[in-house]
Symmetry: C2
Subunit: 179 residues, 2 copies
Amino acid sequence: MRVLGVDPGLTRCGVGVVAGTAGRPLTMAGVGVIRTPADAPIGDRLVLIERGLEEWLDEHRPDAVAVERVFSQHNVRTVMGTAQASAVAILCAARRGLPVHLHTPSEVKAAVTGSGRADKAQVGQMVTRLLRLDAPPKPADAADALALAICHIWRGAAAGRLQQAVAQHRAVRTQEPAR
Amino acid sequence: MRVLGVDPGLTRCGVGVVAGTAGRPLTMAGVGVIRTPADAPIGDRLVLIERGLEEWLDEHRPDAVAVERVFSQHNVRTVMGTAQASAVAILCAARRGLPVHLHTPSEVKAAVTGSGRADKAQVGQMVTRLLRLDAPPKPADAADALALAICHIWRGAAAGRLQQAVAQHRAVRTQEPAR
């Protein structure tokens, strides 16, 4: 499974591609940041983000896209820009028929470090270790995008096992009256 | 001048096209609502909004697009959806090289009714009168989209007059030392 993680932002939009399956070592297929000038009109910035994401999707052909879920509890101005960038990421993925999943920052931190309250440095260190990189990817947005992709592969596997267990349980229960 | 007004929303995205210039009677070229099912995944909803807006842009070929500026002071969940829908509208316009302008709800109300605190009914009545319609457009999102387009034509004219006055003033000042 190949997942494109997107840490949405207008100034820096982190992107990272991770390949692999849960329970086996994961591989980084690419990491980077799409930047747009802070003084450009919002429309031009969203077009640049769209073009950048399309290039990443064309090159890496992921099976799924994982985007950070945006909350509005923080700075209003920043949150609006983040919501707009995330909308473009969700749109680009859905337009190609790719499954899009949103993960909260604490879900990502918990999946990668074991703690939902881990700081940026801890996330960067665990991403480096899990993907066997020489150094933590810079800037933090790039590392966060990889963490999102890792989180998605692991959570997807957990959700799959849960669904399987429920299905098996139901199958057994359905068979019981027949005995 | 032909302006497409967009009142962004995931469930109902109001769209309205107004043609004309400030100081002369305006004409409605079209009004409607793009709807998406509340139970559909967010990605599919954004794709539906994009497709709907593209159809409106193809059919009406506006010179500019006016989108309601989103604030996050209200309900968090609604605001995120509105921000995402508005991002798609801004993206569609900018991708075609069309100028995009954001107007706050109170700017629109003030432009159309004379009061920034006017209610939905008052906005609907003034839109009906200004565009010489038989009845207020329904739902309110459609009327709001027309109000945005009207606001844009009028505010654009005011901004143009101001720029012209400033330019004339500068030209006079520049000539003075030469006398």
